[in-house]
């Protein structure tokens, strides 16, 4: 069984209140030097069968139509070894 990861992040121009809240909290906790934080989602998919081009194409489509809302989010599909 292979693992494919889909990372979904808000588009850069879209407000990310969660990331902002984390970033604002960091200095209070004594962590400096973080200029920006964005928070997104990570999906770990366990795929039956081989992760060939066809499978990846399907996962790409799945990410595009379902895992991400492309009105406001971008995504990346990665095969994990």
């Amino acid at each position: 069984m292979a693992r494919v990861v889909v990372d979904v992040m808000l588009k850069p121009e879209i407000l990310d209140p969660q990331g902002q809240a984390v970033q604002r909290a960091l200095p209070r906790l004594g962590f400096d030097g973080i200029a920006d934080v964005r928070q997104g989602k990570r999906f770990e998919l366990e795929v039956d069968g081989p992760v060939d081009d066809a499978a990846l194409a399907r996962i790409h489509e799945m990410a595009e139509t379902f895992l991400a809302n492309t009105v406001i989010e971008d995504f990346v599909v990665k095969v994990e070894s």
Binding site: P17, Q18, A21, R28, Q39
Partner: protein, 226 residues
């Protein structure tokens, strides 16, 4: 001397005014505490009220746990000061490790607001002395991240020590393990629960019952006796 009960307002706290009202209706002196306060204004007990402190961003309660006011609360709670965490307050208490376990997104993934029946499993804590063990009460419940989880060992320990303070009846509204609605620390001074007793202190408002008032009269009696 009046009994002073502090209610903390973090940015995004919502039920602070209700908690202050409940304290007042029980006959104690409500003392508002601000998240930037570094001292607790000599209160005798603290209520961490419900809401979405810091928007519940990151994890419910995670950011508030690091607020200035939280430090002295953790310190004094460990020294025995009574602390009640309601909903978001319960989440903060687990994030601060004053209570074991953690709160996760409801198993059905929706916010849930309902009139919830509970059983009081431990009537010996600072906040539950006015109830009978086994008493069934009804108070509003409303949360997004109300699923109580802990590992098996912790759960067994809680059960064995009688530290499960409240259990859900009829329905488990959020997938909490072993129907746990609230727990206490070993000393019984720190109590956390998801349902909202502060919304059930007047006959007309909320579910229309006053089943929640006992939390506030319990603590008042305890502090007056002390």
């Amino acid at each position: 001397m009046t009994t002073r009960i502090g209610v903390v307002t973090f940015p995004g706290t919502l039920d602070d005014r209700d908690a202050l009202r409940a304290v007042r209706l029980a006959g104690a002196e409500p003392v508002p505490l601000w998240h930037r306060d570094k001292d607790l204004k000599q209160v005798d007990a603290v209520v961490l009220a419900g809401g979405f402190s810091y928007g519940d961003y990151l994890r419910a309660g995670a950011i508030s746990r690091f607020s200035p006011v939280t430090e002295p609360i953790i310190e004094q709670a460990k020294a025995g000061m009574p602390v009640l965490g309601i909903c978001n307050g319960f989440q903060i208490l687990t994030e601060a490790h004053l209570l074991p376990g953690a709160m996760l997104r409801n198993n059905h993934l929706h916010f849930i607001c309902r009139e919830q029946r509970l059983r009081v499993e431990n009537a010996d804590t600072a906040w539950t002395a006015d109830y009978e063990r086994g008493q069934e009460i009804s108070v509003p419940l409303k949360n997004m991240d109300g699923r109580y989880v802990a590992d098996e060992r912790t759960l067994d320990e809680l059960e064995a020590e009688g530290r499960v303070a409240f259990r859900y009846l009829d329905v488990n509204p959020n997938g909490s393990l072993r129907d746990i609605a609230g727990i206490t620390n070993a000393a019984g001074n720190v109590v956390g629960l998801m349902p909202h007793p502060e919304h059930a202190v007047e006959p007309l408002i909320g579910t229309g019952g006053t089943d929640g008032l006992g939390f506030f009269t319990s603590i008042l009696k305890k502090l007056v006796a002390a």
